[in-house]
């Protein structure tokens, strides 16, 4: 029915509690020394920071997949482009502290480049790069989506061309001559806006910004899917042609959510790069994009919260398993994927919904 509030009161309080808890982690890390009962290891904080970026990407993917039924197997490219856009600034911010002590990033010195190529111009400005974070994935998605949706490419056909797109970008970025550091990508960042990138305070700030971005995006996405536009999107998913016969042009609706999703994904990438310390073309490999889909599916697509849970669960398990049983973890993870599909068709969020229903 028409929904008047974004979330139920219980959901609001749940989200608020989670945000507070998550926000507390880096502060506990900062203010309690190692060994104190309340100390949160910085390893933990950086891990959760990374997961939040993944969660944002999964949330973005869910907007197109879960609601508009557009399965993208190429969201890695938006994630990576956002990361590269921010990475350009971070590379410039290294200044003369690189191994070649040059104004240019090391890989350019190595390629005998004397000046920045055109697409690097003005990237020493933080705000310009932040604009690129939004613009580059956004414009790519808009142009790609415009032609694809106009040609009425749907279903697997669309999925496969998104895969082709990310694959092509990966190969392009692998080339040294493309100007993005080849397969080593960008790494060894030193500072951001003048602050040391490895300083605890900087890390905590990045973490909190990511948390804010994630929470903000969740609210934004929720607002969108609860609007009439959200219902149109679901109609696109279920019967696009019927929608046309009642006077909607699906092109613009799809393009809107597709572009929005790409931008959110780009922002996720931009937040990811300073926290993880590297961006390289393998983020654009088809398998990485498929993994994003997996996060959303495990969490429960079409639920917004589900993909966030999914990203945390899958990556959390992966982090734990790869350390705890390095030889067997793929069995465990694979089995979990199979069991989720078999027994939790709506993903983890579906489990919660079922549980709630049973309570009622």
């Amino acid at each position: 029915m028409t929904h008047t509030s974004l979330f139920s009161r219980r959901a609001w309080s749940g989200i608020a509690t989670l945000v507070v808890v998550l926000a507390a982690l880096p502060l506990l890390n900062l203010f309690f020394a190692d060994g104190h009962a309340l100390h949160v290891p910085s390893y933990m904080v950086s891990l959760i920071g990374k997961f939040m970026c993944y969660a944002l990407a999964a949330l973005a993917l869910d907007m197109v997949w879960g609601y508009a039924g557009i399965l993208s197997l190429g969201h890695g490219v938006f994630f990576a482009l956002g990361a590269y856009a921010h990475g350009m600034y971070l590379m410039r911010a290294i200044g003369r502290d690189g191994v070649y002590q040059s104004d240019l990033p090391d890989f350019m010195v190595f390629l005998d480049w004397k000046t920045y190529p055109w697409f690097w111009s003005a990237t020493d400005s933080f705000w310009y790069c932040i604009a690129l974070v939004v613009l580059v994935p956004g414009v790519l998605a808009f142009v790609f989506g415009f032609f694809a949706f106009r040609s009425r490419i749907k279903g697997v056909y669309f999925s496969i061309i998104t895969q082709a797109m990310t694959y092509a970008f990966m190969l392009l970025f692998f080339r040294n001559n493309t100007g993005f550091g080849g397969n080593n990508g960008f790494t060894d960042f030193k500072r951001i806006l003048g602050y040391s990138i490895s300083a605890p305070g900087t890390k905590a700030t990045l973490y909190l910004v990511t948390l804010a971005a994630l929470a903000g995006s969740l609210v934004l996405c929720r607002w969108i899917v609860q609007s009439k536009l959200g219902r149109v999107l679901q109609a696109v998913r279920d019967s696009e042609s019927r929608l046309m016969f009642i006077g909607y042009n699906p092109l613009w609706f799809k393009l809107f959510v597709w572009t929005l999703s790409a931008v959110l994904c780009g922002i996720a990438g931009a937040l990811y790069v300073p926290q993880v310390g590297i961006i390289n073309p393998s983020e654009m490999s088809p398998a990485n994009s498929i993994e994003m889909v997996i996060w959303a599916a495990v969490g429960g697509r079409g639920t917004l919260v589900g993909p966030i849970i999914g990203a945390f669960t899958v990556n959390g398990l992966k982090s734990w398993f790869t350390g705890a049983f390095p030889n067997l973890w793929l069995f465990a993870l694979g089995l979990i994927f199979i069991l989720v599909t078999r027994y939790l068709p709506q993903g983890i969020a579906g489990l919660a919904a079922r549980w709630r229903k049973e309570q009622a």
């Binding site: 950086s46 191994v99 190595f110 692998f174 790494t187 960042f189 490895s198 350390g323």
Partner: protein
């Protein structure tokens, strides 16, 4: 604690598992060996194995976990350059130690890293020198064939500069790249054949592991023999040849700092230990295991680190770094290797081997003694005077 923890950071799954898995096993064997002799500083070593799954950001995460959570004193690991680059900032930030056992493109020197594999001058340049020599066939034209990523690109840049300095014209050099996982070498082999019509040609291959088999198969089937167009590879060793039918490869070359076929008591012992270990631990295909260069480099690295800890009487990073300088170790390659006091690279001998039908290499050329590494290739402008930390 009564143990000293050491981290092992090699991919056990994903694309790099092919190469890295055996390094993990060698590391474990070496640690057992040291423990059997009483450990280090009277304590046993305890290995912490993790799987970064050929995923570069995961490498960084795992490195941080090993250092910060597991509190390891040192990490042995990485294979690809990008994995090393991704963990570097972590080691610097947390001031810990990484031993990197694989040949690489150079252009790097870090206080927190010890490089036990070859720098370009310890592998690539001697190989080309050999090819140009009369013994090596007196090659006049060169195909630089590689997988499209930084290691081949960099190596080839250095080689091109080197060849130019030897008077080879640009038109006599063909640089060709293929994507990762490329498996169709028909066109490239045909082009090599065409190119070789113009004079004695050699192929310098920096093709990454997985593409090598299809490349060599194509080469063999197209009738290009090593006597016509020799191929020298920098990433093909005994381990890679285990998965290849070597009949058509006879006579093609590889350049390394160690071959399993090198005959000396240390190596015999090393091979014996490894084979016994493989059987004891029931490794897959335990009866056919082989040793190779990065395995030797791993072995050497762990021993040197243990020696340095004994010398420093501490596992403290800075003290160990100081103690590493000038460490020596009698290596399976038959030489006593020295850790350079200033550049964190080993002095290593260079061998060039031809592939034998049994998948081993027969050494056809070697340096008289260990060679000092030049991580900053002099063939790259601007590198002069950068050879020290």
């Amino acid at each position: 604690a009564d143990t000293i923890k050491v981290g092992i950071l090699h991919s056990l799954s994903g694309t790099m598992a092919i190469s890295e898995t055996s390094l993990k096993d060698v590391a474990l064997m070496t640690i057992d060996e040291i423990n059997a002799k009483g450990g280090v500083l009277g304590k046993k070593l305890e290995a912490v194995v993790v799987d970064p799954a050929s995923n570069w950001p995961l490498f960084a995460e795992k490195a941080r976990g090993l250092i910060a959570q597991d509190k390891v004193s040192v990490v042995f690991g990485c294979w690809t350059s990008v994995s090393r680059k991704s963990v570097l900032p972590v080691f610097k930030e947390l001031n810990s130690l990484l031993f990197y056992p694989v040949q690489y493109e150079g252009e790097e020197l870090e206080k927190n890293v010890f490089y036990t594999g070859a720098a370009p001058n310890q592998q690539a340049i001697p190989a080309v020198q050999y090819l140009m020599s009369k013994e090596g066939g007196g090659a006049k034209r060169f195909v630089l064939l590689g997988t499209d990523y930084v290691y081949p690109r960099t190596t080839n840049k250095i080689l091109r500069a080197y060849l130019k300095s030897k008077g080879v014209k640009d038109s006599d050099i063909d640089e060709v790249y293929t994507p990762f996982g490329h498996s169709d070498y028909q066109t490239i082999v045909a082009n090599i054949k065409k190119f070789s019509a113009g004079g004695k040609t050699a192929v310098i291959s920096t093709i990454n592991g997985d593409s090598n088999v299809p490349f060599y198969k194509e080469l063999g089937n197209a009738g290009l023999k090593a006597t016509d167009v020799p191929v020298v590879a920098f990433s093909v060793g005994e381990e890679e040849l285990r998965g290849v039918d070597t009949k058509p490869l006879l006579g093609h070359l590889a350049a390394w700092n160690y071959f399993e076929s090198v005959k000396n008591p240390v190596n015999t012992e090393f091979i014996k230990k490894w084979k016994a270990y493989a059987v004891a631990k029931k490794l897959p295909n335990a009866n056919t295991v082989v040793t190779n260069d990065p395995m030797e480099a791993t072995y050497v690295g762990i021993h040197m680190w243990a020696q340095a800890v004994e010398k420093a009487k501490s596992t403290d990073t800075d003290k160990v770094i100081a103690a590493m300088a000038g460490q020596t170790f009698k290596a399976p390659s038959g030489f006593t290797l020295t850790m350079d006091p200033t550049n964190h690279h080993l002095h290593k001998p260079v061998f060039i081997g031809e592939i034998r039908p049994d998948g081993q290499f027969s050494v056809v050329w070697k340096t008289p003694g260990p060679v000092r590494a030049n991580p900053w290739s002099p063939y790259i402008p601007g590198n002069e005077g950068k050879q020290k930390l």
